[in-house]
């Protein structure tokens, strides 16, 4: 193969610089791997979501009510902007599956008798739809079926409206409504305990005495329709039938969590590769800049013999190609591989009919272009210097480096360092910008480690702090329908139950000036010990008879301050409106809840105080007996222990986090290694003569190693605290970019995360520095001293 002399020069120099080129390529490839895998996952999820929603007619508006005559559907259909209306019966059931300590929670939804649903169509993975009139046939959500190994033909026990029945699975399906399936009130998805069942409409309606009526309606809007306008109209129509307020797609649980996950991924897939690309640009600049400074005479010669500025510039930019090509190959292949793994992990939690990692030409081109821009951007300054160098000037050796007395000397600290220390200090202060950039690159790596761990730390921080202080119950039970307060008394008398407190949840709309939100008032008994409200700083907030306490997030969203009186509109019963005074905030809790005294709610509802759920404190030795007793009660729809849920969430996260820890250590370690290695190599090239002279003067290897590596040590020492701080700032910024209404808690970075980040950085730097140091052992004193720079 014919290769021009100029390209031979390039290849031989690349070979000579192979260590540096490989490390830069690794950093760049890591950036590409992150970019391709995260962006690709993001795009694949986004495309799947879009196609799934579109093809399976995911609804735009969801509304529930108590009992609405079917004829009302026509009024909704006639509303301007409404394209499709699907009414259905939706009820909660429990599934006392054999071998499970608690029944699973289920949502039982009706399917039209003779046609597929007009909204929220099912993707039948196996089997068929229930036949009309067959009251024991159901289609089951695939995640639940999979968790229990259920297939068409199997029977499952279901408590329907207080009666235990055995229903036959005829189909396994996915639904755009349940891409992420989570029980109401649960903190984490648990496929084993969350079922969705679809039953033929007439069978379901007769089980709940809803013949000729519906209690749930979903709509698809015409293009360009105002969602807000339609929802207001729908709410108005459903108000007299016990409507509790519609929600848009944005607030639909599954979609909200999926969208939020996509948002996070979108932010991270930009932030993380940016660090790698920045470091790449810096390293390319460092290495190429050094090479060009050393090659002044060669540049002059090339120009003198007739090479144009463009050819000379192109020649040095060729080195970028040498970095770029292997990085692209590894980056694209690695990104594709990692992307499939990551998407596979997402696919376990987010259920789509098809989820394929899409390495589109567009994504590949973008990855290559962005990487090329980073590498070329780094090269540009250095190459411009080569191009601009007038040939006559390049003939002359560069002026000797200008050193000045450093700050240390002016402060009189030079006596502490000795001449070796002064060499280091002057070198660092001569190139303060390079020192800062090196430190910044390493700090970027440190911050990546923080960034990859803070989510778990924050979750743990929330769990260990707020959650444990606020939620002191062992078990929480949810009733199928609100019950009389005496039921709580009965629960309290169960053997093994120490304390039982009822909670009443009432759907409301809270309004402050032009801002409003759908929320829930949690009515707590006057003497409540199991559910405590904790303000920032740890003080417990007490609620007066006529006041309410809000989560800080809700208060911020509505712009409410203590003493304000927002309008709260109850969305059930008589639909009264009140203006209670805001007396406090629960600072660190998640969500948009309102807390009040149960008495206030009873007054609002005009009843004696029904209870929708109960918190139980149970003797640890008798938890099983208590649960067994609770399971027998048909009025209880769900039993949960939030602490157990939280623990499962942490367990699940920590196993994912362990994988991520290894990946992040490898990636960050790679950056640190790359920066330190390249700096040390350049230091060695620049100082070989001085170090050899020192050896001749009688310095030993250890002493000259210290001089060579001290500047790297100082850069790392600057970078570690800066990186820890930067990581924290990034984490805060990342959290603030999330939707506060669905996902935001206080950023916590645990001391062990700081420690891990610092240790990984220092170790990677040490390995890298020692790697370069080996060269000093074989430093050929005579050759170095004879060489003309």
């Amino acid at each position: 193969m014919w290769i021009s002399a100029l390209n031979r020069k390039l290849l031989r120099e690349a070979w000579r610089l192979r260590g540096q080129i490989v490390t830069i390529s690794i950093v760049l490839a890591s950036g590409m791997i992150c970019f391709i895998s995260m962006r690709g996952t993001y795009a694949s999820l986004a495309v799947s979501k879009h196609e799934y929603y579109d093809r399976y007619r995911f609804a735009d508006v969801f509304a529930r009510a108590e009992r609405v005559p079917e004829s009302v559907a026509r009024r909704i259909e006639a509303l301007p902007g409404v394209a499709v209306v699907e009414t259905r019966v939706a009820e909660e059931v429990s599934l006392p599956i054999d071998g499970m300590e608690r029944p699973a929670y289920g949502r039982l939804l009706s399917l039209p008798s003779t046609r597929p649903p007009a909204t929220n169509a099912l993707y039948l993975r196996r089997g068929r739809y229930p036949e009309a009139g067959k009251s024991d046939e159901i289609v089951l959500l695939d995640s639940f079926a999979e968790a229990h190994g259920l297939v068409p033909g199997h029977r499952v026990p279901v408590v329907v409206n207080g009666k235990r029945r055995s229903l036959r699975v005829v189909g396994i399906a996915l639904s755009p409504e349940f891409v992420y399936a989570i029980r109401p009130g649960a903190l984490v998805d648990d496929p084993k305990r969350h079922a969705v069942l679809w039953m033929e409409r007439s069978a379901l309606a007769s089980a709940f005495q809803l013949d000729g009526a519906f209690n749930d309606v979903t709509l698809r809007l015409a293009p360009g329709a105002s969602e807000q306008g339609v929802r207001v109209a729908v709410d108005r129509i459903l108000a007299r039938y016990g409507g509790i307020g519609s929600i848009g797609r944005k607030d639909q649980v599954s979609n909200r969590i999926l969208s939020q996950e996509l948002d996070q991924l979108g932010v991270l897939s930009t932030m993380i590769p940016a660090v790698f690309l920045g470091v790449t640009a810096f390293l390319v600049n460092l290495v190429l800049g050094r090479m060009i400074r050393l090659q002044r005479p060669e540049i002059a010669t090339l120009k003198a013999i007739g090479y144009s500025n463009r050819e000379v510039g192109g020649h040095y930019l060729g080195l970028v190609t040498v970095v770029l090509v292997p990085a692209c190959v590894v980056g694209l292949a690695g990104g594709f591989f990692l992307g499939r793994v990551v998407l596979g992990l997402y696919g376990r939690t987010f259920r789509f009919p098809t989820l394929e990692f899409q390495l589109t030409p567009g994504l590949m081109i973008m990855a290559v272009v962005v990487s090329a821009i980073a590498a070329l951007g780094g090269a540009l300054g250095a190459v411009r210097a080569a191009v601009r160098l007038p040939p006559a000037e390049a003939m002359q050796p560069p002026a000797p480096a200008r050193y000045r007395r450093s700050l240390f000397e002016r402060l009189g600290l030079d006596v502490l360092f000795g001449p070796g220390g002064m060499m280091v200090a002057r070198e660092l202060t001569r190139r303060p910008f390079r020192t800062l950039l090196s430190s910044f690159g390493i700090a970027g790596a440190v911050s990546l480690l923080i960034l990859s761990h803070f989510a778990l730390d924050s979750l743990l921080g929330y769990f260990e702090g707020t959650f444990r202080r606020e939620q002191r119950q062992d078990l929480a039970v949810v009733f199928a329908r609100p019950v009389a307060p005496r039921v709580v008394g009965q629960l309290a008398r169960l053997p093994g139950v120490v304390t039982a407190e009822g909670i009443r949840a009432v759907p409301v709309r809270i309004v402050n000036e032009h801002r409003s939100r759908a929320s829930v008032i949690m009515g707590l008994p006057a003497e409540h010990t199991l559910r405590r409200l904790i303000a920032r700083g740890g003080a417990e907030v007490t609620i007066p008879d006529d006041g309410v306490v809000l989560t800080k997030t809700l208060a911020d969203v509505l712009g409410l301050r203590i003493g304000d009186r927002p309008e709260i509109e109850v969305r059930e019963g008589d639909r009264r409106t009140v203006r209670p005074v805001v007396v406090g905030f629960v600072e660190d809790s998640i969500g948009l809840s309102i807390y009040a005294r149960a008495g206030l709610l009873a007054e609002l509802e005009g009843d004696l105080g029904a209870t929708s759920s109960a918190l139980l404190r149970v003797d640890a030795r008798e938890v099983e007996q208590v649960e067994a007793a609770l399971r027998r009660s048909p009025s209880i729809i769900d039993i949960s222990d939030a602490a157990g849920d939280m623990q499962r969430l942490l367990d699940m996260n920590s196993s994912i986090m362990n994988v991520w820890t290894v990946i992040s250590i490898a990636l960050s370690g790679g950056i640190v290694f790359g920066v330190v290695y390249n700096n040390a190599r350049i230091g060695l090239a620049a100082w070989a003569r001085e170090l050899a002279s020192l050896r001749v003067l009688g310095f030993n290897i250890r002493e000259i190693s210290a001089i060579l590596l001290a500047s790297q040590a100082i850069e790392v020492a600057l970078a570690v605290p800066a990186g820890l701080w930067l990581g924290r700032v990034w984490a805060e910024w990342f959290m603030s970019s999330m939707d506060p209404e669905t996902f935001r808690w206080a950023v916590v970075v645990a001391p062990r995360t700081y420690l891990l980040s610092a240790v990984v950085t220092v170790l990677a730097a040490m390995v890298s520095a020692l790697w370069v140091r080996r060269n000093l052992d074989t430093l050929d004193l005579v050759a170095v001293l004879k060489a003309r720079e």
């Binding site: 031979r8 020069k9 000579r16 060669e298 003198a304 007739g306 090479y307 500025n309 006559a392 003939m395």
Partner: protein, 249 residues
């Protein structure tokens, strides 16, 4: 004549006609607050086929003159002509083309590319020139036909300088400009290099300008120009050219 021909055009090669000339050449460098006059009104010409020695002590302006004649530098004042083409009006691209097609440079410190072999160093030029010699042929002319695949670090100083000469002549330049070509060499090797230059001048008819501070070298020239403080002090024609092998210093 065009500086940027489609590659084939050459400067007029009528023996004795001026191939490179300048009038009133001045070059002023600003060093700190002081203006240094490296050239102060130099008028001079190099004729086709001529072997010219520019003699002068260090700092007399001879390297500056050579750089300007070779299109590596531009004068502060005055005009430079290559044939009838005015170099002082040429832009960056035209100067590059001038160097690429018409000028061969030989430097005191050889300026070889250390990562390229002798053959590849010459190929650097032959790959971009029109109608060049083969690298092997050029290296054969300087007596290095056996050392084609050696890297500069594997060659002696004299051999490196001969590679540099081969590189300079491989494009069949109209003008060969040599800046202290023997300056870094011992006497014996220096003579060897001068012999090569002599041979190139004789066999290829390349107009050759050698700058040196070493007065005895002037004996090999057709004409000797002496520079001092940026001015031409003296110019004389040697009645008979000595052979390089006869020189002693």
């Amino acid at each position: 004549m065009q500086i940027v021909p489609n590659g084939k055009a050459r400067a007029p090669v009528i023996a004795g006609s001026p191939i490179l000339s300048c009038t009133g050449l001045k070059k002023v460098y600003r060093m700190g607050d002081v203006d240094v006059r490296a050239l102060d009104g130099v008028s001079f010409e190099l004729r086709a086929g001529e072997f010219l020695v520019l003699l002068g002590v260090s700092g007399s302006g001879k390297s500056t003159l050579l750089n300007i004649l070779g299109g590596l530098d531009v004068p502060s004042d005055g005009r430079v002509f290559f044939g009838t083409e005015e170099l002082t009006l040429a832009g960056e691209d035209e100067l590059t083309a001038y160097r690429r097609h018409h000028v061969g440079f030989v430097f005191q410190f050889y300026n070889l590319i250390p990562s390229l072999t002798a053959r590849e160093n010459v190929a650097l030029v032959t790959e971009i020139a029109d109608d060049p010699l083969d690298p092997e042929e050029a290296l054969g002319l300087v007596g290095l036909g056996e050392r084609l695949d050696h890297f500069p670090s594997q060659l002696s100083g004299g051999e490196q300088q001969r590679v540099a000469i081969a590189r300079a002549i491989a494009k069949r330049p109209s003008v060969l400009l040599c800046d202290e070509p023997t300056g870094a060499l011992d006497f014996r090797t220096g003579i060897l290099v001068l012999e090569v230059l002599e041979r190139v001048n004789h066999e290829l008819g390349t107009a050759t300008a050698v700058i040196t501070h070493n007065a005895p070298i002037a004996a090999v020239a057709d004409r000797v120009v002496t520079l001092s403080d940026g001015r031409i002090q003296e110019s004389h024609q040697n009645t008979a050219r000595a052979r390089a092998a006869e020189l002693r210093w």
